[in-house]
Amino acid sequence: MDQQELHRWEGRCIQEEPPACRAGCPLGVDGRLFSQAMKRHDLAAARLVLEKSMPLAGIVGRLCEAPCEGFCIRKDFGGAVALGDLERYCLGAGPGRGKGLRLPGRDKRVAVLGGGPSGLVAAFELARKGYPVDLYHLGAQPGGWLRTLPETRLPAAVLDEELRFLHSLGVTFHAVPDLDPGLPALAGTEACYLGRDGDGAIALLATLSAPDEVTFALERPGTFAGGIAAGDHPQRLILSVSQGREAAVSIDRYLQGASLTASRVLLRHGRTELYTDTTAVTPQPRVAAAGHGGYSGDEATREASRCLHCQCLECVKHCVYLAEYGAYPKVYARRIYNNSAIVKGIHQANRFINGCSLCDQCRALCPNDFSMAELCLDARRQMVREKRMPPSAHWFAISEMRAAASETALIRHAPAQKTSRWLFFPGCQLAGIRPAQTLALYRHLLALDDRTGLWLDCCGAPAHWAGREEELAAMLARLKALWQEMGEPPVLVACSSCRKLFGEQLPEVTTVSLWSYLRHKPLPPARATTVPLAISDPCSARHDTETRQAVRDLAAAIGQELSPLAMSGELTECCGYGGLMDNADPALAAKVARARAAQSEAPLLTYCAMCRDRLATTGQMTLHLLDLLFPGDADAASLPPASLSSRREGRRSLAADAGRLHGEEPAGGGRPGDDLLLAIAADVAARLEERRILVEDIRHVLSAAGRSSSFTHRGSRRRLAAGRRGEVTFWVSYRLEGSVHHIDGAWSHRMTIGTEDGP
C-alpha cells in the first residue's frame, strides 16, 4: 500500500465525517460532543466544546438562531435536539470564559470598521492569530445592535466581559464619529475589514460593492467586508459571525501572501457523508422548558439525552474483531499502512492484520463498501512477499492443508467406471470432522448417479487466507491438472469456502453446490428435529444466494421448521475460523464464535462442518444439515466437536474407506509410532488441543525416544523425549507402565538448539 492507496482507503470510511448538526453549523460547532457533555451535566466541558469553534461564545451562544437544528437527525423523531436552548443554558448556568490563547505577535496591523457582531468576531479571530487590531466603532461603546438587546437575552455584563477579553487579546477600540473607509487612520494598516452589520452600516454600505461569497474580499486588494445589515434577517447573528470569521481567514491569508482560496476549508452548509442508522430510533418529544428563563438543569440534561450521538460504525457494531481493537476502519487503514512502513522495530499490527476472518461482513454493512478483508489480505500478501509474515501465524492450518492435499488426498471415478458425470468434493473439513456421514453422502450420490467420482483434497483456502500466493498458485495448478485428467466433470462442492475459492481462483472449473444438487433429487430418509432451528449461513456463502436458498428448501422439504436469525444471508457472520483467525488469534476467534452463538435462542443449523464444530464448542446446540439428511445412531446435536487429531484421523479413514470401494487396501507399514500404546487423560488432551499438538506428533516423538534427546527423572521415573517435525520441536512427558505410555504433558517450541537446523 502506498500513500495514495492509504488515502483512498481512508476516504472510504466516513466515520470521521461531521454529524449533521456540526455540518449545519456555520461555525462548525460540534453539537454531538456538546450534547454528550450536557448529558453528563458537565457544563465546563460543554462550554469548552463551544469555545473551540465559537468565537466570543458568551455572546454568540446566547443569541445564535441555531440553523444546525434544521439538519439534526433527531428532527424526524420528535424534533431536533434543542441545541440553541442548550447553549443558552450552558452559558448562563456554567462557568465563565476561559483564558484565550494568543499566537506570538505579528507586526502587520489590521483595521476593523464597525462594532457589530461580524466586526467583533473578525477582530477576535485576527487578534488570536497575533495581529494588532484597531476596531473603529460609532457610539461610546462597541457592539452595534447588540447594545439594543434586553438584559434577558444578552446581559450587558457579558458583552462587557467579552469586550474586555478582546482588549486583552490586543484589540484597541476607537470611537469615531463616522465610519468611512477613507478614514485617515487607516493609512498605516495593511488590511481592513468593513462590518456591514454595525451601526451606521447603511452609510458605509452605500459605498461598497458586494464582497466575494467565499472569501468576502472586495475589489480593492486588502479590503474585506461581511455581516448581515438587514435587521429582520432570520439568521442575522450567526451569518454575520460566520462571515466575520471567514473574512478573518482571508485577511490572514492575504497578509501572509497566500492564496485566498487554495485548499480553503469550505463551509459545509449541512453537507456531510456521515451515515447514521436510525432504524431503531423511537420518537421522543423535545423537552419544553417549564419556566420563562429557559431550561432548568434537569430539563437540559433530559433534552441533551435526546441526542442520537450520530455516527456510522455500522461495521464495528456487528464485528467482534473490529470492535476488539477499539477504533474503526479509517484508523485501522493507517495502522496497517504504518505497520508495513516499519523498518526497525516491532510490527505491532501483525496480529491485528492476521486476526481478520476475511468474511467481508464489513463490506456488506458499510454504506461505502469498505472491506477490511481486502485490506488485511493485501497486507498479508505483502508480508509474505517481504518475508516478514510471522512463521507461527498460520503454521498449523498450512500444515493441515499440506497433509490433506497429499497424504489423505484421493481422486477416483466411481467404482467400475471410467468416466465421471460428477465429481464430489467434500472439502477437507467435512471429510475430517464427519468422515462417516461423508461416506454415507457419497453412497447416496452414487445411488443418484453411478458415475459420480470422488475427490478428497484441500481447495487451498488456507494458503489463500494466509496470503501465500505462490503456494496457492501451486495448489490450484495441481487441482486443475487433476480435474482435467478426470475429464473435466462438474464438481459437486459441499463446502461454501471451497466453492467460493474455486469460483474466484479457478473459474474454468464448473462447480455445483452440493445442496442445490440434492435439492432437486429424491432425498434420503431424513429426520427433522422437533424444535425450530436457526440457519447460520457460513460467511463464505454470503454471496451464494443459490446455495442459501437450496439449504432452506431442503429444510422445508424434510419438514424442518426454521426460526429466523438476524444476521444471516448477506449479512451473516463468521464462526471465527475464516481467514485463519483461529490460528492467528485463538482467543479472539473463540469470542467471535461465542458472540455468534449467543445471537440465537433457537439451536443452530449450518451447512459448514467447521461452523458446526466451532459453534458447538460454545455450548450452543448446533446441527449440520447432514445430521438431518443422514441421521446416524448418535444424537448429532450432542456430538462433541472433533479434535484436531481426530480430524486428521477422519480424513485418513475416509480416504481408506473410499479406497476400499475400489478394492484398494491402504498401504501397510503405517507411520512411526503407530503401534505404541498411549493413555491420554482428558485434561491433558485438552491442553494438547490448545497447543495444537497432534497425537501423531506424540507418536512421532516417542518412536525415537531412547535414541536421542530423551531423559529420565531418577526419582519419579518420569520420562521426557523431544523430536523435531517440520518447523517445530515437540516434547513429550510420560511414564511407562508395562508397554503403555501414560502421557502427562507435551509442549513445543520453534527455536532450534545447538545448530540452526535442529537438535
Binding site: P391, S708, H713, A722, G745, R750, P759
Partner: protein, 69 residues
C-alpha cells in the same frame, strides 16, 4: 548478562548416555538470531532439556517478539 534456565530439580539422566545432566551452555537459534543460554545438558552427547515452563513461557515470548520484528 548470562541467561540461565536451570531448574531446581536437576535429577535427570540422559537416556542414551546414562549420564546425569549438568548446567551447560547451549545456543538457541531463531530467525537468524542466536542466544547463549545455560540449560540442563548431558555432559556426554550435549543433549539439552527444555522444560514446559521455559518452552511455554520465556521461549514463546522471545519467539513471538522475533517474529514481529
Amino acid at each position: 548478562m548470562k541467561l540461565s534456565f536451570i531448574p531446581e530439580d536437576m535429577d535427570w539422566v540422559c537416556e542414551p548416555c546414562g549420564l546425569a545432566l549438568q548446567p551447560g551452555m547451549a545456543e538457541l537459534f531463531y530467525l537468524g538470531n542466536v542466544f547463549r543460554v545455560e540449560l540442563p545438558m548431558c555432559p556426554g552427547c550435549g543433549a539439552v532439556l527444555i522444560g514446559e515452563e521455559l518452552a511455554t513461557g520465556k521461549m514463546l515470548q522471545v519467539e513471538q517478539l522475533l517474529e514481529d520484528k
